[in-house]
Structure formats: C-alpha cells, structure tokens
Point group: C5
Chain length 326, copies 5
Amino acid sequence: MIVDSALYRDGVRVDVDCDTGDLRELRGKATGDRDFVWVGLHEPGEEELAEVAEVFGLHPLAVEDAVKAHQRPKLERYEDSLFMVLKTLWYVDEDDAVETGEINLFVGDHFIVSVRHGVGSELQPARRHLEAQQGVLDHGPSAVVYAVCDAVVDGYTEVVQSLEEDVDEVEESVFSPGRTNDSQRIYTLKREIAEVRRAVLPLREPMGRFAHGTVAGIDAEAAPFFRDVADHLARAAEAVDTLDSLLSTAFDAHIARISIQQNEDMRKISAGVGLVAAPTLIAGVYGMNFQHMPELRWDLGYFFALALMVLTSGGLWIFFKRSGWL
Amino acid sequence: MIVDSALYRDGVRVDVDCDTGDLRELRGKATGDRDFVWVGLHEPGEEELAEVAEVFGLHPLAVEDAVKAHQRPKLERYEDSLFMVLKTLWYVDEDDAVETGEINLFVGDHFIVSVRHGVGSELQPARRHLEAQQGVLDHGPSAVVYAVCDAVVDGYTEVVQSLEEDVDEVEESVFSPGRTNDSQRIYTLKREIAEVRRAVLPLREPMGRFAHGTVAGIDAEAAPFFRDVADHLARAAEAVDTLDSLLSTAFDAHIARISIQQNEDMRKISAGVGLVAAPTLIAGVYGMNFQHMPELRWDLGYFFALALMVLTSGGLWIFFKRSGWL
Amino acid sequence: MIVDSALYRDGVRVDVDCDTGDLRELRGKATGDRDFVWVGLHEPGEEELAEVAEVFGLHPLAVEDAVKAHQRPKLERYEDSLFMVLKTLWYVDEDDAVETGEINLFVGDHFIVSVRHGVGSELQPARRHLEAQQGVLDHGPSAVVYAVCDAVVDGYTEVVQSLEEDVDEVEESVFSPGRTNDSQRIYTLKREIAEVRRAVLPLREPMGRFAHGTVAGIDAEAAPFFRDVADHLARAAEAVDTLDSLLSTAFDAHIARISIQQNEDMRKISAGVGLVAAPTLIAGVYGMNFQHMPELRWDLGYFFALALMVLTSGGLWIFFKRSGWL
Amino acid sequence: MIVDSALYRDGVRVDVDCDTGDLRELRGKATGDRDFVWVGLHEPGEEELAEVAEVFGLHPLAVEDAVKAHQRPKLERYEDSLFMVLKTLWYVDEDDAVETGEINLFVGDHFIVSVRHGVGSELQPARRHLEAQQGVLDHGPSAVVYAVCDAVVDGYTEVVQSLEEDVDEVEESVFSPGRTNDSQRIYTLKREIAEVRRAVLPLREPMGRFAHGTVAGIDAEAAPFFRDVADHLARAAEAVDTLDSLLSTAFDAHIARISIQQNEDMRKISAGVGLVAAPTLIAGVYGMNFQHMPELRWDLGYFFALALMVLTSGGLWIFFKRSGWL
Amino acid sequence: MIVDSALYRDGVRVDVDCDTGDLRELRGKATGDRDFVWVGLHEPGEEELAEVAEVFGLHPLAVEDAVKAHQRPKLERYEDSLFMVLKTLWYVDEDDAVETGEINLFVGDHFIVSVRHGVGSELQPARRHLEAQQGVLDHGPSAVVYAVCDAVVDGYTEVVQSLEEDVDEVEESVFSPGRTNDSQRIYTLKREIAEVRRAVLPLREPMGRFAHGTVAGIDAEAAPFFRDVADHLARAAEAVDTLDSLLSTAFDAHIARISIQQNEDMRKISAGVGLVAAPTLIAGVYGMNFQHMPELRWDLGYFFALALMVLTSGGLWIFFKRSGWL
C-alpha cells in the first residue's frame, strides 16, 4: 500500500499536476538537480513492489528482501543505489513485550523508497516533521535516511528505557521479602533483550559508515548527524548489555533467595515438630503402666502433667524464637 | 556413484552423442568458451573418485578430503581449481534430531564436480531448478556454486527454524506447572546447536570472500547473490547464538523450578506431619494413667477427645491452606 | 549558571575591564596569540547555553548533547572545535552508592567552555590549582583539558578504591561464620560496577588518542601527561573487571555457604528428633498393656524407665556431638 | 640418545662410509645441493645435545629450550635456522588419561635435527614411511617438517576422538537413571581438555604461516600440504571447544539430576513417614483411658483396630503411589 | 636507599676513585662509548629520587610513578630515555599467599636506574650473576633490562607453579570423601590468580616489542633473548588462565558434592527415623486398651512384642543397608 508519495524540490514538497500514485509520472517530474521523490509503502504486496521496482530500477535481490521482511539490519550497494534494512522496535505496555517491525530503504538518484512492515514505527510523523523544518529536505534523500535512522534509533532508546523499568521491577521483586517466582519474568526479559540485540548490533556497522561519511550516495556533510545517531545506537547497545548481565545476577540472587527461604522453612518446620514432640514424650511417660509412679496418684497429677507440657513447649518456643528458628 | 553428468552450453543442457558416464569424452566436448560440464557424485568409492580426479586433474589432497568426508567447511585453491567443502544439515522430525552431510565442490575451467555425502540435501532438485531458469547457467560453474551454497544455507535456515520450535517447546515445558525433567532435552538441543555451529561458522569466511567478489574462478558479477547467501548465513549464525543462550537461561530456570518445587513439597509434607502429630499428642494425653483425670469419666469423654482431634487437625488444615502450605 | 569565566594571557588570569559575565566582550579581548577564555557553566538552561554557543560558535548537535546530559563519554570534532563528554563518578559514603555526573568540554581557538552536570566533581578547585601553578596554563586550552581529564580519572580511582573496600566487606561477610544474606549487597555492587564501567570504558579510546598526540587542537607536547591519565584509566578499568569477577566468585561462595548451612541445620534437626524419639519409644514400650511385664512391678521400675530414657538420649547426644551433627 | 641419523640425497637414504653416529663427518658428506642429514634424538642429555649443537651451529637459546622441554608450541627463527616446538599428545586407555610429550625440530641448510621427549609419539615410523615414499624426501627438510607436523596433528585427532568417546560415556552416565557421581569424571576431562588446548592452540599460528608458504627455509610448494595439516588442527581445536562446553552443560545437568533425586527421595521418605504415622495415631486413640469407649468392649475391637490401621496405611499407599510419591 | 651503584666499562665493573654514592661524579666518569652506570635503589624517598632524577635527567612524570609504586606494568618513552614498570611476584609459603612488589627501570644513554619496591625479588643476585658472566654486560643497559625481565618472569613461573600445587591440593580436597569447606580456599586462590594476571598480562605488550627488536634504546641483537622471556611470559599467562578455569570447575564440583552429601544425610536420617518409628507403632498397638487382645495375656506376650520390635527394626536396617540408605 502506498502510504504517501511526493516530489520535493529545493527541500519543499511540490504540488504536481499528476496523480501522486502514478509513480512513473511523478518520477519523471524530478528533473531538477535537487529534486527527489519519496515514496512510502506499507507492507506492499509482491506485485505492488514489483511495479515500484520497475519504475525506480531497484535490484531484484533487494526487492525480494523487502517483500519477505525478516532480514538482518544491513546496508548494501546494488550498482548505483543503496538498500538499507532497519529493524524497528516498540514496547507494548499491555503485554510488557517488545515487538519488532522492519523498514527497508531504497536510496537512488533523485528518489527514496521506504517500505515499512509491522504496525508500529510509522514514518508519516517523520515526514511531516521533515517537511515542517526549513532547509533540511534540501539535502535530498540523505536527509530522509537520517530522519528515518534517527526515528528508529530513538525507538530503540525508548524500548531500552522500558526494559530498564522492567528490570527495576524484577529487581525489586527478587529482593522483596515476599515469595515470588521471578524466573519466568527474567527469562522473558532475556528473550526480549536478545531480540533488541539482534536489531541493534548489526546496525552499528552501517551507521558507523554513515558517521564516517564514506557511503557513496549519502551526503558527507550529514556525517556529524549520523555520528549522533551512531552514538545513541552505541548507548542503546551498552545499556542492553548491562541489562542482560544484571538480569543474570538477579537470577542468581533469585536462586539464592529460594535456597535461603527453603532453609528458613525447614527451620520453622523443625521448630514446629519440636513443639509437638516434647509434650508427646511427656504424655508417653505418664502413659506408662508402672505400678509405682508417684505422680499418677497426685490429686493434681493430671494438671501437673499438662502444665509440664505447656511449660516445655513454651520454653522451646522461646528458645526457637530467640535463635531465630521461628 | 555418478548421479548425473551433463554438458551445458550457453546455459542450456546439451544432448551429447556419447555416454554421459564417460566423463573423459564428455569433458572433451566442452570446447566452447562458455561450455562446462557438471558431474554430480554421491558417496563415490575411492577408485571412482580417482578416475574423476584423473579426468579433471583434481588435486590429490582435495580428492583425499572428498573421499573421507568429515572435513571442516572451507574454500581452498589448488593451482587453477577451487575446492569447497560445505556441511549440509537437515532436521529429522521423528527423532527431533539434526543430521549432517557434506558436499564437496571442485570448480575448474569448464567443469564443476559435486560430491555429496549423507542421505539428505540432494542436489538434483537444485540442478533441475537451475536448468529450468533461463540465462542462469549461462554464468558457468559460478552459477552452480551459488545454487549449491544457496540450497545448503536454506537448509541451515530450515534447521534453525526447527530448533527454534524445539526451544519454544522446551520453554513451555520449563514454565509449565507440571513436574518435567527438561535437562536431557536441553542438553540434546545444546549438542545439536553445537553441531549446527560447526557447520555454519567456518563457512562465513569463504562466503564473505565470494560476497566481495575476490575469489578467482568465481564470476565477480555474482557477488550480490553471494552477499544474499552470506546474509542468510549470518542470520542463521545469530539465531543459533541466541538459541544457545536462551537454552542456558531456560536451564537455569529449570533448576530454579526444581528448587521451588522441592520447597513446596517440603511445606506440604510438614503440613501433613502437623495434621497427624497434633491428634497423636491429644491421644497421648488421654492415654496417661493419672487417677484423677476428669475427662476420662465423662460419658462423652471419648467423643469429646475425638472431636478435639478433628477440630485441631481441621484448624491446622485451614491455617496451612491459608498460609499456602497445602 | 556561569560559575566562573576568565581570560588567561601567557598562562595568567588577567583582570579585564568588563563584566566577566559578558562573554562576547570577554572573548573579544582574547586577541593575543596565547590568550584564551575559559567559561565554566553548571547545569545551564537551554537558553543560557544557546547564548554561549552563539558567542563561541559551538555546533548545534554538540550543544544539544550538552543540554541533555546522559551522553556516552566521547570525543568529537565539529569543524574547527572539539567536543568532549566525560562521566564523573563519586562515592556517597552514607549510601555506599556511586553517583554519576557529566562534564562537557567545548575546545576551540582561544577558548574552552566547560559544562558540568550533577552535584559532585566540581571544577573550581581544578581551576584554582591550575592558576596557582606557574607555566601550566601557558599551554592554553590543552592544559585545561588535561586538568579536567586528570581530575575526572582521579575521581574514578577513588571510586574504585571505595568499591574495593566494599568488596572486601562483602567478602568478609560471605566467609564469616554468621548467617548473612549477601546477595542483595553483591547485586547492588555489581550494578554500581556496571555504572563505573560505562563511564570508564568508552573514555579509553579518546584518552588513547590524546596520549598519542594525534588530536588536532590539543598540544602534542601534552601527550606524556595524557599517557599518564590513560594509564590511570586503564588501571581503573582493570580493577573494575577484577572486582566484578571477584564478586561473581563471592556470590558462588555465598550460595555454597547457604547449602552447607542448610545441611548443618538439617543434621542438627535430625539429631534433635532422635533425642526425643528414643525416649518416646521407651515410654511406648512401658505403656503396653501386657499382663506379664516384669519391670512394671519393680518398685523402682518407673525410675528405671526414666533413667533408661535419660541414658539413651544422653548416649545419642554424645554420639551426635562426636560425629559433628550437634 | 641418537635414535637414528642418516644422509639423504635426491630423496633417498644413502649409505655412508662412516659411522652415522659421527655427526660431524656425516654432515660433511652433505655436499650436494639437495643433500641433507636427519638426526633423530630422544631425550638427549645436556652434553649430547651440546655436541649436536656445535656440529650444526644451533642457537644456544633454542638448545636450552630443547633440553628443558616443557616449552610452548612455537616456531622461531634464529639467524639462518628454524626452531620449532610441538607438543605431542597420546591417550592412555588404561587410565583414560591424556599424556603429553614434546618434539623439537631444528631446521637448517642441509640438515634437520629432531629431539623427542616423552614415551609416546615415536618418529621412527614417520621416517620409515617417508623413506618408503618416492620423491617426497626429495623436497628436503621441509618434507620432514611436514611429516612430523602431520603425525603430531594426527595424534591430536586421535586424542580428541578418545575424549569424544569419554564425553559420550559421561553423558550417558549423567542421563542414566542410576545414582552416579559424575563430577570428578567431568572435572578430570575438563582438565585433560585444558591440556589438549594448550598443545593445540599455540600451534595454529606457526601452522598458518607454513600454510601461507611464507616461512623462509620451508619450501613454499609444500603450502597446500601444510594447509591440510592446519585444517586438521583447526578441526581438533573446534572439537575440543565443543567438548568443553558440552561438559559444562553435562555438569549442569548432573547438578539438576542431584536436585531432582533429592526431591524424589524426600517425597518417598515423607510417604514412608505417613504410612507409619497414621496407624500410630489410631493406636494412640485406642490407648486412651476413657471409661466409655464402645470399641474397647467389642469382641473384635482389637481386630477392628488392626484392620483400620492396615486400611489407612493401604489407602495412603495407593494415594502416594498414584500421585507419584512412592 | 641506594643499594648499589657502579660503573661498567667493556662489560666489567670498574673501580672508581670516587664515592660510588656520589652519582653525579660517577656518571661523569662514564665517558667511554660503552661505559654505563647502574644505580640500584630500594624504596627511595621522594627527595632521594629527586636527586637521582636530576643527575640522570629523568622525566618528572616517570619519577612520580616510581615514587608512588602501584603502577601498571608498562614501557614508556620519555624523550630520549625509557621508563619501564614491572610487577614482581613471590609466593609466601607460610600464608599460601602471593605478594607483589614493583621494579621501575629508567634506561638512558650510558645509565640504567633500577628502583625496587617491596621486600621480595631482590636485584643484587641478578647483578652479581651478570658481573660474573663474561661479555654480557658488554651489551650495555640492554643486558641489564634483559636480566631484570628474565628474573621477574622467572619469578612469575615459580609463583604459577606454587599456585598449581595449591590448585592440586584444592582438587584433592574437593574430591576427597571427607566433608570439607573449600569455597573460601578457592575464592582466595581466584583472588591471587587475579593478582598474578594483573602483573602478567600488561607486560606482554612491552615484552613483545622487545622481542621484535623495535624499541629504540634496546639493543636489537638482544631480541632472541627477549623472545625467550616473552615466551615464558606467555606460558605463565596461559597457565594462569587454565588454573582459573579449573578452579571454577572445582567450585562447581564442590557445590555438587555438598548437594550429594546433603542427599546422603537426608537418607541416613530418614532411615534412622524409620528404625525408631516402626517399634513405636508396635508399642502403640500393644498399648491399646481393648478388652480382648489375645497377646496381652500370653505369658511371653511382652517378650514377643519386644522381639517383634527388634525384628522389624532389624529388617528395616538390612533393607536400608541394602538399598544404600544407611
């Protein structure tokens, strides 16, 4: 589905006298030196993308990748055009889950085609923002590439922050006095972190190339801007690594706590057993059938025995309390 | 065993007026600039391969490797021909197991010899597919190398997907409420992942060289295609790494669950002990032989005692239920 | 907030006949070859920093980073000025916690602007110290960069020392005979070490570049001094790595101790059960109702039974003591 | 001890008219362009080696290394001769243990001196084999270096295979239903794997240099052969890494099994306690001394009580069996 | 404190007609091309070192490092002199502990100044040894640097051997049948290994530079000798890594043994409980008050009951013995 398509001239969106959906004609109008066309697609069908590919002369291998999605983040050159794959990430609060999408960019002479997969990470806000800023789109497709990378990496930062909050919650739960089973939560978080890592890590290499201004087809003057994005990317990668190793430690602490609780339970249980076993022994003693047992004939023998039981149990109770077993 | 052998001219399989099993004659017919012979062998005997080696002038060290199988994936140049070893992987559903085979390719001027070991990963479909596509075999042996690599790496992707499903199952089992023993399953999966890794990782280097178009004897124009394969390979490698570390975490979770279950069992057990110990104490008390024990003379003393027992046990039951011990 | 701003000429602070808060005029006075202005800001607002940026021609991306703080340590060149980010660390004794701040340096021709975030790591002492030393500020902004880096890295060393003391404490606690729960303490320390690592590690690359004297705008003669700082940084990084792996081992030892204590408790408990169960059995025996039980008629039968109980329990007590169960 | 020494001319062992033990004279006879002397020593004394060193002009540092053994595998150039250290490994079936020896090679113009330490890995078979093959020793000392490296690395492969069998046994033991204590076996295997790794890993660098044909003094034409050895070495290194990580996982599985068995034991024990505690309670009840207890007067009261006990225990038995506790 | 200072000419210690403590005069005498002065200091005060620094023109930053000690091992060039820091290690048998010291070397034209910190690793024996060997000191300060490095690295080897013995002891203790608490010992060893690693690892880089003969001021002809030292250093580093990972495995085995022992204890305990609970039940049965209980009237009823108890317990004893619970 074509979400939006437009011709930009001198950095400004130009009204054209043709249907912007007619990409061939639209492209034909980009005759000026600094004209370019930006076509935005969302989950295009194979045929739709084939048409776009024909108009802009996209390489079949790149097009195949863009249809299938589920690519690794990468930057590739096909003859005179660039093909870039970015993984988009967003955090779904309801599920405490990270979801992934994908953006493919075809960058060529006087055109950029963006293909988006998944529901999150829309590009329209980025386009509006670019159109609203003066002089930015003047830099041609490079500006769009920068804007998309910036938006995607900002998305990573947000996801990382949400994960940091999740890890804080897990941490609190692990060290709370209550009896919690945190292992599934930790596992799920580790799984999500692996997901984030698979989006973030492979992107560092292409972003670094942008930051060094050595990618043909990308304005070298944009390098400081890409350096900024590369920096945010590095920060996200570091944060994710830290979270992963914190979770491992939290897991160990979780295991330690289970052991400690088991120990405490065991001691409580044995104290409880002791509280019952002692009076049972006393009852057993006075249940013996010896002919000569003075206490048995005491008027208050029975009460004496009961008192003995209570005192013994009480004494044990105090003893266990003091030594921390109850 | 020679599975198939044919002469290709201008990308098309040519009918020859000799027995295609007579390799020497077949080779003699590949006189055109873009002619080449493709011989496909399956687990050839030492003598059979020696004959083929003589016809095509294969290097003895490479031939030795091709007979023995169990080589590491690699790409080597022997004088004017290339020798490539690929590990093939396929997933056997019945056993939930990964099996491995091996493909050796000898690539030279006007010929390619493929040697396959193991039952899976047949090459005939790939040959048929190549023959059916127009203009592809036109690129000579390079096209065959690409087709084989592509098929092999697609096999990796499928195996990785099956392993991902297995890991999902393990995960579900680990976090299911039931009492499962997942350690052997996890161990077996880790072992299979190690197998996959040994096939995938060493292949990255030669595939990268293909992707950079720097291997003499391989058409540099095929580089973008090999880049695609290299990309899939990288994806498989990453996925396998992720699976491995997820399994480690799942194992830890498994251990944590064992501990937690043990703790729960212990508490149930002690609650059970408590339910019996309390009435036993009561019985012990009324089994004492004091001469003055008022209850013993009550008409309903016995029933009173029984009621006391039931009440005590019932009270404990409620208490343990409420505190989560039963 | 402008903390201090001054003009230095030939390494000496010069009294100017204008308000030092009027940066534009102050900068105008730095006309000599070796004159430079040093402006120190503390958590400036966006507008305040914008003014400073205008006066000194700072790059908008760098300024944005300086406002937001929470950057990665880095060194970047924007046209003809340098932008450096350093994380500052200090140890808060009351909380046994590591806190972080940030220092941003803009270094250009005849000026240096330092922007500090957070309460710790003040720069005024460093400025006073520099002004007090003869001939140092003579080297221009490079001397200030060195002084700031030196102070920041000294701060790292102090923090690492405090963490080493904390680890020593944890170690002592883990191996003390008492029953301690060290896992939260270890977790917190690991978390702080991760914090330190995020400050220290990324700084090594820029510091190495200073130490090699290859950063344009920084006096190559200062290289040996930066080498010294780089060395301290490397030492801090190594120490932090060692601490991290010691903590992991301490954690394992903590877990081992929990297991051992549980085992000891279990044996104590069972010994206790034994001490009660044996006399209970004896009481049971003499509670049997056989008509012919000689002991029951003994005059001292009861005392014999009691003595038997005490002897049995006493014997068990000695046995358990000897075998280390009590 | 000189094991063997001979003069080779045009790849053939030549009968000389002097004592082959008189190395000076033997060396003097190696006058032809493709003549060379091969001296094989086994654990030579310091003096013996000093003599050999004098004859062939070996470097004192290399000689010192060759006397002491216990060197790291390495390849070093001393002026115009090469010095190589290889660790030999062999598996002693009786002890399931890996033993190590050492081979030192001095390679120079027209001579090669091999020094062997340890009982395994004899070189005489390799020499016989070389002498039996036509045209191989024609390549001079390089052929001997290749043959020795090949034999040593083949030894590694055999050791790795034996270790793989050991790991299979451990694996089987870990997952067998029996109660096995595998931790010492796993530890010993890990220790042996560390031994193997110390022999294998440092050898990769020199073998890689041979395989690239860039070592002066070694025939560049032998490169494909060394590439083969390097490949086997890489395979051994990979296999060893895989074994090591499999053992770690097996260890974890071992720990998990201990926990699970403990849990099962605990449940069996508690079920057993339950089977005894219930009838004890019943006996307690009928041991009470109430004057009005109807059952006590029943003719079959006693048998009723016994039946009650058996029924209760039997019911519990079935219950525990069904819930998997017995 | 100046330990020794002397003038060497043509490799021989020369008697000078001035106080060797008067360094300025001593230095003045080193006029020959191959003359040099070697000053050995032990824990010099700040002033003492300042004087030496003035005489030999040492760089203030290097001098500061030499006073403070606690530096990282490193090799640095300050203008025309070299500054080297080495960590010395020695093993104190009484404490089973590794202690560290430090040696600083200032190497310049015609002089070498060695500064030693800590009680171990004296340099005087090395000096005597050098003076006793003919022709070695002829190579000037390089020979001293080599001798010091060699002595220091030999010290590492000794420490590593002592640690290997300690690890063997720990290993034996872990796998001994007795009940040992090895975790503190393992922790301490890991801590010492970390100490050793911090001395050994950073030294590899400078030693490698010496071994390549690329350090200005160090005789390139000494390279093979430094290569030897570098080799020993590499061996020590490898050995330390192996020890560290063996200790980790030993720790795991220690934990496994604790679990197994706990399991065995638990089974012993339950068997013990069983041995007492069974006769208690029997006693309970014959303590019931039924009017019709045939056994109660038997003449030998009591002995029958006692025999029953003994038989039951004995039977259980045999059963538990056979199933390995006792």
